[in-house]
């Protein structure tokens, strides 16, 4: 029995390792999938090096390099291409290229012995796959079967999100808010059923999550209406093709969901655990225990959201400050939306605590009456 089990784990680990190696090899050699020409850098030479000082006396080193690459796909496969590149030490908007780097190029001149062209950008798909595998391996190693379930739930959620966004961007007159509400329902039901099975406990957690998420959004909406959105800098949303306010509200809804789910499942399972250990436990005691647990988790949970949202703005804030922008202006331009997200998410966390306690107690009481 034991040997059989060990064999099975061995095979499982073998399969994971194999698919990891194969997929990394694949993305390293998938040049034929791209229409744009790709070159592998085989030689670089520095042609010029210069110190620059900008109007705010920031000093930097700007370097010119000649890059010779070998085309890996298309009509010119195997030919050499000569390109110029300029990069700086800080690398805010440019890159130094080294031997072995794979880059997208555009071919300008194909007469003569050498091709010449421009560098369009780095090929980054390999690194995404490597990072993804690092995550997958860690999840499976630590979580085993429950790790696998959370991976499945993440993958399905991403696919459903992509489908919904396809539907939204291609359809006319489709309301983003309703799509995201539908998504929230689906994500909650699917993720929680997968994590803790189809039972009363899960149903209570689903109800609490949905109620918590939507009430936090309601508060956010009321606040934005009441203050006429003062202090929100929608122009900060660099990537926007739609009405910024509706995209922002939809993003608040999705963003608060995960944390609300976390709180709902933690509190509901603990309360069910307590009733299982002690069938006769008074509902009042359950309420107190639920609140104790809630107190313990709300502080660190709101910090999870805070850092996840705010840290992404660090590079942009630095660029603003280095360009001599006032601290006040920089922060309001770069953080107003992120801080709002973190605050609304935290409100969702705190609201979900009492909501989960009452839904769980309601379900537990109903279960007792039936018995």
């Amino acid at each position: 029995m034991n040997i059989k089990w060990k064999n099975k784990t061995f095979i499982t680990y073998g399969l994971i390792l194999l698919s990891m190696v194969l997929s990394i090899l694949f993305v390293q050699n998938n040049f034929y999938l791209y229409d744009k020409p790709i070159a592998e850098v085989i030689e670089t030479t520095v042609t010029d090096e210069e110190e620059t000082v900008d109007s705010l006396s920031n000093t930097d080193q700007v370097i010119d390099q000649t890059v010779i690459g070998e085309i890996k796909n298309g009509d010119h496969k195997g030919q050499r291409i000569l390109m110029e590149n300029q990069y700086s030490e800080s690398g805010a908007a440019d890159h130094e290229y080294q031997m072995g780097d794979k880059i997208f190029v555009s071919i300008q001149n194909d007469e003569g012995t050498h091709l010449t062209g421009n560098i369009e950008g780095a090929k980054r798909d390999t690194f995404i796959v490597v990072a993804a595998w690092l995550f997958i391996v860690t999840v499976l190693w630590v979580g085993k079967k429950s790790g696998l379930y959370s991976l499945i739930s993440l993958v399905v959620n991403v696919l459903v999100l992509m489908l919904a966004m396809n539907y939204y961007t291609e359809g006319e007159d489709v309301n983003l808010f309703w799509i995201c509400s539908g998504l929230v329902l689906f994500f909650t039901v699917f993720s929680l059923l997968l994590v803790s099975g189809n039972n009363k406990k899960t149903h209570a957690a689903i109800l609490a999550t949905v109620a918590g998420t939507f009430s936090s959004l309601l508060i956010a909406y009321a606040v934005i209406k009441l203050t006429a959105g003062e202090g929100l800098r929608y122009e900060e949303m660099a990537f926007i093709t739609r009405n910024p306010q509706s995209v922002f509200l939809a993003s608040l809804l999705v963003g608060s969901l995960g944390a609300a789910m976390d709180i709902a499942i933690t509190i509901t399972s603990s309360l069910y655990e307590l009733t299982e250990k002690n069938q006769a436990i008074a509902l009042k005691d359950l309420k107190t225990s639920g609140r104790e647990i809630g107190k313990d988790i709300m502080g660190t949970m709101s910090n999870v959201l805070f850092f996840a949202y705010v840290s992404g703005s660090i590079p942009m804030i630095l660029l603003y400050l280095k360009n001599g922008m006032a601290v006040n202006y920089t922060l309001s331009m770069n953080l107003s939306l992120e801080l709002t997200r973190a605050l609304v998410g935290s409100i969702g966390i705190v609201l979900t605590i009492p909501i989960s306690i009452y839904t769980a107690i309601y379900f537990i009481r109903k279960g007792r009456v039936i018995k």
Partner: protein, 260 residues
């Protein structure tokens, strides 16, 4: 009134009503952390200071606030603190090696177009900054998981003092498995919420899958999610191991110094 101030006020009232004194502490902790982050960013503009070193110091301060201020100084929070530091160091190495080659530092073409009047030769190494960004994004999730596991194991050991190190480690890992799914969910949805606009933007502008995958904006986001997730999970075995080791070693300290 300003949206942010009103929301902060609502959050404070809710935290105080539902969490009592600990709720107030949780709210203040958010403020202190914000302050530490701002000071860190402002210090980063000084070329003479190494930004990664600065981030490590900031993360240590933030862990102190999250663990010792919100949860008070005791055996549980001390174990969680040491585990947090170990995980941070491990994560910095992993990220350092991997980010170096992937060319995701700085800003994407799409962002640069909006900032044409800006100077980009500002003398800060954005290759270091992206590492700082990833590490900072993880610190909240790491401390959260660390304290959850160490306090759960503390309870388990208190109720079953005969457990040996291996059994204790095993039950810590069982607790960790439950946390794993919900933590990855929290981070995942937070990121999706943050980048919903970007997803719609890619679709509206008709980017092909290949263009999306290789663009700097998407690649740096995707990699941040994966590294942050890895850090938030890596803390599980580290805390479980460290708790099992130290709880058995310092038996008498378990559950002592607890105010509750």
């Amino acid at each position: 009134m300003n949206v942010l101030i009103l929301l902060a006020l609502i959050l404070f009232v809710l935290m105080k009503v539902i969490g009592g004194e600990k709720g107030t502490r949780s709210f203040l902790a958010l403020f202190f952390n914000f302050g530490i982050m701002l000071v860190t960013i402002i210090l980063m503009t000084d070329q003479a200071i190494n930004p990664i070193l600065l981030t490590i110091i900031a993360c240590i301060l933030i862990s102190c606030i999250n663990l010792f201020y919100i949860n008070q100084f005791n055996f549980k929070s001390l174990t969680a603190f040491v585990s947090t530091i170990l995980t941070l160091i491990l994560l910095i190495f992993a990220v350092f090696v991997l980010v170096e080659k992937s060319k995701i530092q700085g800003f994407g073409i799409e962002e640069i177009e909006e900032l044409l009047s800006f100077s980009f030769y500002v003398g800060i190494d954005f290759g270091d900054i992206i590492i700082c960004t990833i590490i900072m994004g993880t610190i909240g999730a790491i401390t959260d998981t660390a304290i959850s596991i160490s306090s759960a194991m503390n309870e388990i050991y208190f109720h079953n003092p005969t457990l040996d190190r291996y059994q204790l480690f095993k039950s810590g890992m069982t607790v960790g498995k439950d946390i794993l799914g919900t933590t990855t969910n929290t981070l995942f949805f937070a990121f999706i919420g943050g980048y919903l606009a970007l997803i719609i933007w890619f679709k509206d502008l008709g980017y092909s899958l290949g263009e999306v995958l290789n663009s700097k904006v998407f690649a740096s986001e995707a990699m941040s999610i994966f590294y942050t997730g890895t850090g938030a999970i890596l803390i599980i075995p580290i805390t479980a191991w460290l708790s099992a080791y130290s709880m058995v070693k310092y038996k008498d300290k378990v559950r002592s110094g607890e105010a509750e």
